[in-house]
């Protein structure tokens, strides 16, 4: 046994490998040190799954169980040492001897404190658990350290501390309104073994005029450098001139207290008024009334799955409801507000669950339905640090966009540049400004200047170029003319006086000349793209793809590059031999066969199994089938590649699923079906997106199950005893039933998921280039 000392331990620290709560994994966040002769030996941060100490029934189990109980005790012991008010005084933490070889065996990952570059502490909000992100100095290790979530609601030590704080210094109008959370004592502990230097303090020092934003930084996203060098600090704190005068310690926060004080005074008066009002509400005569009228509802809704889900996702609310009876009144009111929502959801749940053959869980439906929080500008901006660098993970950002889209075009304008790869996700503001300059000069020097002013690009024949320009001109003139910026063919793009009106109405023979600046820009971008990608050339449908991008960005250079990147994945739709679009149709056909066999059977009977009626929707990503605002949302969700880089096929599948019954019952021929899908109107894109997500999850489960089943079959002759005891098989038994019902699953036969279907599980964008034709 190699022994060491346990320096810190926190229970119920979770990782969230997927966005399903049921798949969150609880564990311990541990800091320990090996006992060694080397006095400089390094502390190690590690995380161990709870179940790592419980599972195998081997001879080691006793040791493991011992460690588990040791950790559980240590969790509470360390909690007892937490001092809410102390930030700098070194607490004496207990040291507990521990078997480090066992810890090593059970841990998912380990990192030396000296290898940690920074740690980001993200306080919980009503929708998120508090979490920390550990960034290692070695860039490539980052992937191995998942975000750690503190589930304060189930952590005994955190609850104990919260209770203690509540009892000792309860002050409802404390300026630090935020509740204590699990990350706080980890942070405090770290200060005892290393130098933690806040990155965000700088802003609260010199940007005192902007209290709200600095408060936001301090509260929301605290990044701390671990044992930073002076250079590290300079990199992060470009605004600090007199850094050298300051000791590098986390106590440098007092400069702006004056401002805070005056703010606090104001807050006190406001809060005082609120308190008066609240006091009226909580007078004895009043409260029982409220409680009695609300409590039956309250009881009912506390048992409601949906309400409970909301409660669980809001640790603060949960906490409040535990501690204050009066809070229950508010809770009840709030529960009443969600009553309708909850009932609506229950119906939706049932419908969706049936449509998915009960193969998705309520939890998964819940996640898919949770689309009510579009990305706001404030939220988006809060995701960036002072250098304008994203300080949440790309995955989290995409999760947010996938499940809510952007709130308005102002935020969309910024988000799309990242989603479309114009700006790298890890770029800083300065880097983006640099990048923009070079993108601008490349656009003009390498593309636009080659054709501008009636030139023919050097490597094209005059006839070919004239042809391309003619096609582009024709399509631009008839593109989205209902949108305000494209509507009027005037020099300003607006109708100023009746002369303009006259000009505008004259543009009716096919040879009219574009003078609307926005239409002209569309044309310029498409012509430049033609020079950029001469092999592909112009193809109908490209204007449909460019138009929304330009409408949102309204900048020629940015739109060009965004379009170039969008076309990377869309080029396969426009190949001369049609191989890319045909491949998607075949994939969709196989997917429909697997997921909607009844519909596919009917389509085959109607000579429509080639799914030609989906061609237009897939070619231009549903551009012709939805309103503009809806297309923006749909596309930005597709662009995240959150589940699959071909999520458009699941969205198409959702359209098929939703229309299955009318199609099967009423339509009998290829013509009928084509007409039906060409003329679909007023589609509910949000419902379709929920279905698309659930269909993906169901598809993923089927693939996982079939793979598991096939491996069992192939293992069976060699190891007859293992049948049925494999780890995956037990959990999947209900799916097996359902698959049998879908007549997909024949236990004797291997059902193969084709490579084509497997590509749907990949998030990697499929790029197919046009081959040079001359």
């Amino acid at each position: 046994m190699s022994s060491g000392v346990l320096l810190y331990c926190k229970s119920k620290v979770y990782i969230h490998p997927t966005n399903r709560t049921s798949e969150n994994v609880p564990g311990f966040l541990i800091v320990y040190k090996k006992l060694s002769t080397d006095p400089d030996s390094n502390s190690i941060i590690t995380w161990c799954r709870e179940d790592a100490f419980q599972t195998s029934p081997s001879s080691r189990s006793n040791n493991k169980k011992n460690i588990l109980s040791q950790l559980l005790e240590a969790d509470l012991e360390f909690a007892a040492k937490y001092q809410p008010t102390s930030t700098s005084t070194k607490n004496s933490y207990p040291t507990i001897r521990i078997d480090t070889s066992q810890l090593l065996l059970c841990s998912d990952w380990q990192i030396f404190i000296s290898s940690v570059y920074s740690i980001q502490f993200r306080v919980p909000s009503s929708w998120w658990f508090g979490s920390i992100v550990i960034n290692s100095k070695a860039k490539n290790i980052d992937d191995n350290i998942p975000v750690l979530f503190f589930h304060d609601d189930v952590c005994p030590s955190t609850k104990r501390i919260q209770k203690k704080m509540m009892m000792e210094n309860f002050d409802p109008f404390n300026k630090d309104q935020d509740l204590y959370w699990g990350g706080d004592d980890f942070k405090q502990f770290l200060t005892t073994i290393c130098d933690l230097q806040s990155v965000n303090n700088a802003s609260s020092d010199d940007a005192s005029s902007d209290i709200l934003s600095s408060k936001n930084n301090a509260r929301g996203n605290n990044i701390y450098l671990v044992n930073p060098t002076l250079e590290d600090l300079r990199n992060f704190k470009s605004n600090i001139q007199n850094l050298d005068k300051k000791p590098a310690s986390p106590t440098s926060k007092n400069k702006s207290t004056g401002v805070y004080d005056s703010l606090n005074k104001q807050k006190w008066t406001i809060l005082g008024k609120i308190a008066d009002y609240t006091a009226k509400l909580t007078t004895p005569s009043y409260v029982p009334n409220l409680l009695s009228s609300y409590s039956p509802v309250l009881e009912k809704f506390l048992n409601d799955k949906y309400v409970n889900n909301l409660l669980k996702s809001s640790p603060q609310l949960q906490q409040a409801s535990d501690d204050f009876e009066s809070a229950r009144v508010y809770l009840a009111k709030w529960a009443l507000n969600v009553k309708q929502e909850a009932e609506k959801y229950r119906n939706v749940y049932e419908n969706l669950s049936n449509d998915m053959d009960n193969m998705v869980t309520d939890e998964e439906i819940h996640v898919a339905l949770e689309r009510s929080h579009p990305l706001t500008l404030a939220k988006w901006e809060s995701m960036f640090d002072e250098q304008g660098r994203l300080n949440v993970t790309v995955h989290e950002t995409k999760d947010f966009i996938f499940h809510g889209g952007c709130e308005n075009n102002e935020v969309r304008r910024q988000v799309w540049l990242f989603l479309l790869g114009v700006y790298p996700w890890d770029s800083s503001k300065d880097e983006r400004e640099q990048l923009l300059k070079s993108l601008e000069s490349i656009y003009f020097s390498s593309y636009k200047n080659l054709w501008f002013g009636d030139q023919v690009p050097s490597d094209m024949t005059k006839e070919h170029w004239k042809d391309e320009v003619f096609k582009i001109d024709k399509d631009v003139k008839r593109n989205d003319r209902h949108l305000n910026i494209y509507k009027h063919n005037t020099e300003t793009g607006k109708l100023v006086n009746s002369d303009d009106q006259e000009m505008d109405s004259e543009v009716d023979d096919s040879n009219w000349v574009i003078i609307n600046p926005h239409l002209n820009t569309l044309k310029s971008i498409l012509m430049s793209y033609n020079v950029y990608n001469p092999d592909l050339g112009y193809c109908q449908g490209m204007t449909d793809l460019l138009s929304p991008i330009y409408y949102i960005l309204q900048d020629e250079v940015l739109s060009f590059w965004a379009f170039v990147n969008f076309m990377d994945r869309m080029e396969r739709n426009f190949l001369t031999d049609q191989s890319g679009i045909k491949e998607q149709m075949l994939t969709l056909a196989e997917l429909t066969q697997l997921m909607l066999p009844d519909l596919m059977k009917h389509l085959t009977e109607c000579d429509s199994s080639n799914l030609f009626f989906c061609f237009r929707m897939i070619l231009v990503w549903f551009k012709r089938d939805f309103q503009d605002e809806q297309i923006w949302k749909i596309w930005e969700i597709f662009w995240t590649d959150y589940y699959s880089s071909q999520f458009q096929l699941f969205f198409m599948l959702a359209i098929l699923q939703k229309n299955s019954l009318p199609v099967i019952n009423n339509l009998k021929s290829f013509d009928d079906i084509l007409k039906y899908f060409n003329d679909l109107k007023d589609l509910d894109w949000e419902d379709l997106m929920v279905r698309a997500e659930l269909l993906f999850i169901k598809f993923q489960k089927i693939v996982a199950f079939v793979d598991g089943q096939n491996s069992l079959i192939s293992d069976a002759p060699a190891n007859p005893n293992t049948t049925g005891t494999g780890t995956g098989a037990e959990a999947n038994i209900p799916i097996e039933d359902k698959l049998t019902k879908l007549s997909l699953h024949d236990p004797k036969k291997e059902f193969i998921i084709s490579d084509r279907l497997r590509t749907l599980l990949s998030k990697r964008i499929i790029i197919q280039r046009e081959k040079k034709s001359f």
Binding site: D467, K471, K474, D475, R478, N479, R481, H482, V507, D508, D509, S510, N511, C539, Q540, G541, T543, D544, F574, T576, D577, Q578, I581, T604, E605, C606, D607, S608, N610, F612, F615, R616, L619, V620, R624, K668, S669, F670, D671, L674, K675, N678
Partner: protein
Amino acid sequence: MSGGRKKNILKVIILGDSGVGKTSLMQRYVNGKYSQQYKATIGADFLTKEVTLDDSSSHVNNSNSNNNSNNNFNNDNSRTQHNNNTSNGSKTATLQVWDTAGQERFQSLGVAFYRGADCCVLVYDVTNLKSFENIKVWRDEFLLHANVSSPETFPFVILGNKIDVDEAKKVVSARQAQDLAKGLGDIPLFFTSAKSSINVDIAFEEIARSALQQNQLEDDMFEDDFNDAINIQLDNGPSSCQC
């Protein structure tokens, strides 16, 4: 779709270069309206219109030339002459007009829509020489993929569209067009304007008539085939029969 023949549905395909006015012609004929903002057609779509036709195989021109706005061809005649759908009288049918994408790149999918056609309409733009030169290309393309039973007799109609524009802008002369139509086998030719509603109804009357003739011809062959016990397999196999 393809092999299965539905009585009383006449399938007409409109082909031609992008931007010559295929969608506009179809909209003008079926819905009587015009907009300059029809987007580029992607894939294919169709509209249907009920027509009443003189069922005789002769090309007798009736009183329609001064009755363009009337949706039903030979309306007067049908009432006065025959009220039943006998083979010698007037006949009601549904004209199914298919609008396709003009860009050649989409044609390999477009061919799926050619099958079972009763008439093919070739459109060019009188202000666009290239679209005129491509008429023959479109015809050959159609014959190559549509799998028609006798290519020599399959009915085509050529439309020179946009004749409402200034003479100065026209680059294809009437003479050139007539020569081409003649050269391709005496194909009927019309100069039309979807925008100003010139000759559209007349042209489609001819189209419907040709389609009906072709449809009956194929019908007869279908019956023959069907009665021949040895040869009941149609081009698409049994599943394509939707009767």
